[in-house]
């Protein structure tokens, strides 16, 4: 197959970039959805929301501080509370350094906490991921390689997650870290009264302003990316796609973390509808079912016992939640009851307006 030089020179370097952008956008959508869910439970779970705010601000300030450290600006003041964080540099640097430290502030919270988890993940699984090798340096090949790398990582991550051992300290620590990351991964703030900013546009606006404030720096970044791509082509390596694949992995970790926190927030939101003591039952079911299954499988071992234990845990929790919804709330009741009433009373009984 002939390869067009225009494709190699102009379009091929864009392939992994588009891939990263796509996954980052999905991540942004998940963040938006999580913020919406959190704002729904704000009234009844203020401490939880404040805690997630604190985590978000913590990641943001750490990223900002990292930005100042990387640009050698130094840190003179580091302040953090549940609704405000501030990092002041020792030396006020202008130009590219200021832009870089601001990039850490705006874009860092999306990727830096995930990077921490990625390192933890590799330490736990104790092996790497096979990277796809490029045969032709075209746009299509770049996309395929990027997708293959992402698939390989996703397979590894999901295999780990479905067989996670919750009685293993490092596995449990990883899960807790994943949940904490998912809860705090958002650059904007959900807070009290007028400071409430619950929209994706606010985040995007910040990033857009940051990019268009200094378009020259973005052009330089693109130029560097293109040069790096050409170097990869000349040396016949897959460094360029691999680098951007790492960003894709970070997005996948973030999306998984956000999905898990979504489930937790949904569980909290659903249990709020239950009467006082019944609302603790689903949480008890989570722990008891898992421990029970592990004890059973300790005496009667089977293949994939961790996966089966997790499956039973999730299934029993769902069943308990549905049973409570049916018998302790008015959910699932209205439609059937109304029909029954109409049949019993006959067609004559109707509401006259």
């Amino acid at each position: 197959m002939t390869v067009s030089p225009v494709d190699v020179v102009v379009f091929a370097p864009l392939a992994p970039l588009f891939g990263v952008l796509l996954f980052w956008f999905i991540q942004l959508m998940f963040i938006e959805s999580q913020k919406y869910l959190l704002s729904k439970i704000w009234g009844q779970h203020k401490p939880l929301c404040r805690f997630t705010n604190f985590l978000g601000i913590l990641y943001q300030t750490i990223c900002h501080a990292l930005g100042y450290t990387v640009t050698k600006s130094g840190i003179s003041n580091f302040y953090i509370s549940i609704n405000y964080g501030k990092v002041a540099p020792k030396k006020e640097k202008k130009g590219i350094f200021e832009w870089m430290s601001n990039s850490f502030l705006f874009i860092g919270p999306f990727f830096i906490p995930s990077l921490l988890l990625l390192i933890c993940f590799f330490l736990i699984i104790g092996s790497g991921i096979d990277i796809a090798q490029s045969m032709e340096y075209t746009f299509a090949e770049g996309m395929i390689n990027f997708g293959t790398n992402l698939y390989a990582f996703s397979e590894s991550l999901f295999s780990f997650l479905v067989s996670i051992d919750l009685l293993h300290p490092s596995h449990l620590g990883f899960l807790i870290l994943l949940i904490f990351l998912g809860m705090g991964m958002r650059p904007s703030y959900i807070g009290e009264d007028k400071r409430r900013k619950v929209n994706m546009l606010y985040d995007l606006q910040n990033i857009k302003n940051h990019i268009f404030h200094k378009p020259l720096y973005i052009l330089i970044l693109f130029l560097i990316a293109y040069i790096f791509s050409y170097v990869s082509v000349l040396l016949k390596t897959n460094w360029y796609t691999s680098l951007f694949s790492i960003f894709g992995w970070l997005s996948i970790i973030a999306i998984v973390a956000l999905s898990i926190t979504h489930l937790i927030i949904l569980l909290i939101k659903t249990t709020d509808e239950f009467p006082r003591y019944w609302r603790h039952l689903p949480y008890l079911t989570i722990f008891l079912s898992y421990i029970l299954m592990r004890i059973v499988f300790y005496f009667f071992p089977i293949d994939h016992l961790r996966t089966v234990s997790l499956f039973v845990m999730v299934l029993s929790t769902i069943v308990v939640v549905f049973l409570l919804l049916k018998y302790k709330t008015n959910k699932f009741k209205t439609v059937t009851k109304m029909k029954q009433l109409r049949v019993e009373d006959g067609p004559k009984r109707s509401i006259r307006k």
Partner: protein, 295 residues
């Protein structure tokens, strides 16, 4: 609060207790004990490091050493050696139990159970201690009560408060509690942080030696009081702080008010003088009237 304990015209505004999470420093010692106990169970029973703990004494040594190390670090950080001695007591107790009841073979199971049992006991003691605290805010004073065995009480009138210190940690910000330390005119509510640095120099190596020690100390006054002498971990923090500040404001006379009182006093004096003068004038007129008919 008993009605008899109230002063004349006294009205209770709030009766408070510390928030359940306000003694987290103490509770954390118990949490650590639970986590470490369960970790020991995992290490000795199902982990890949199981073989290291094949000998029974290894469980006791590793568990005890880590506990003492954490005790030393926590004591240094909080400047409270009771934490170290508490953990030392626990380790000594575990050793005594193991030898007394001959539990050497089942040390891997006994140590986690012992840790969890003592941490639960610790939680209960902390909760008991928390519940012994009671703060009564009335319109005239604040009454602080506390102590499990020895009951302590402090009464502070608002006009004796010179300064109010308030602090709220991250946990307090999340759950909406905080500590308010009212500092009295006598300095009650103030503590001090001390730091000391020392160094030694030895001169001469064989026969003649000289040892010199130099050092320096620093003391910083800081608002600090026992939990039963301050409004420790009160909830809702902002509301209580506002209430106490308002009470102090209402009971403390401001410079402007002092000026006003002085002016009013002057006016009263002038009015008194005028009254006396008027009285004198009236008296002299009456005398004149009495004298006239005679003439």
């Amino acid at each position: 609060m008993d009605q008899n304990d109230l002063l004349e015209n006294e009205r209770v505004e709030k009766i408070l207790s510390p928030h359940p999470l306000s003694f987290m420093k103490l509770q954390f010692l118990c949490i650590f004990l639970i986590i470490w106990g369960l970790l020991v169970l995992w290490l000795t029973s199902v982990s890949e490091y199981e073989t290291i703990f094949a000998e029974w004494y290894m469980v006791l040594v590793v568990w005890g050493l880590v506990l003492l190390l954490v005790g030393v670090i926590a004591s240094l950080l909080t400047i409270r050696w009771s934490i170290f001695f508490l953990y030392l007591g626990l380790v000594a107790g575990a050793v005594a139990f193991v030898f007394w009841f001959g539990l050497q073979d089942s040390a891997g199971v006994f140590i986690p159970i012992y840790s969890v049992a003592f941490s639960i006991l610790g939680f209960l003691l902390v909760e008991l201690y928390r519940r012994s605290h009671k703060y009564i805010i009335s319109n005239l004073r604040i009454i602080f009560k506390g102590g499990v065995v020895t009951k302590r009480e402090r009464t502070l009138r608002y006009d004796k408060i010179t300064d109010i210190n308030a602090k709220q940690g991250i946990l307090g910000q999340i759950f909406g509690f905080g500590t308010i330390i009212p500092i009295s005119q006598s300095g009650f509510g103030l503590g001090s942080d001390q730091s000391f640095a020392a160094g030694g120099v030895e001169l001469g190596t064989k026969k003649a030696g000289f040892l010199g020690i130099f050092g320096g100390g620093k003391e910083v006054q800081t608002p600090r009081a026992r939990s039963y002498y301050e409004l420790h971990g009160v909830h809702p923090y902002k509301e209580i702080k506002h209430l106490v500040e308002n009470m102090v404001q209402d009971n403390v006379i401001t410079p402007y008010q002092q000026e006003q009182v002085a002016v009013q006093k002057e006016q009263v004096d002038v009015q008194k003088q005028m009254r006396d003068l008027l009285k004198k004038q009236i008296g002299s007129k009456e005398d004149q009237k009495e004298e006239k008919p005679e003439s």
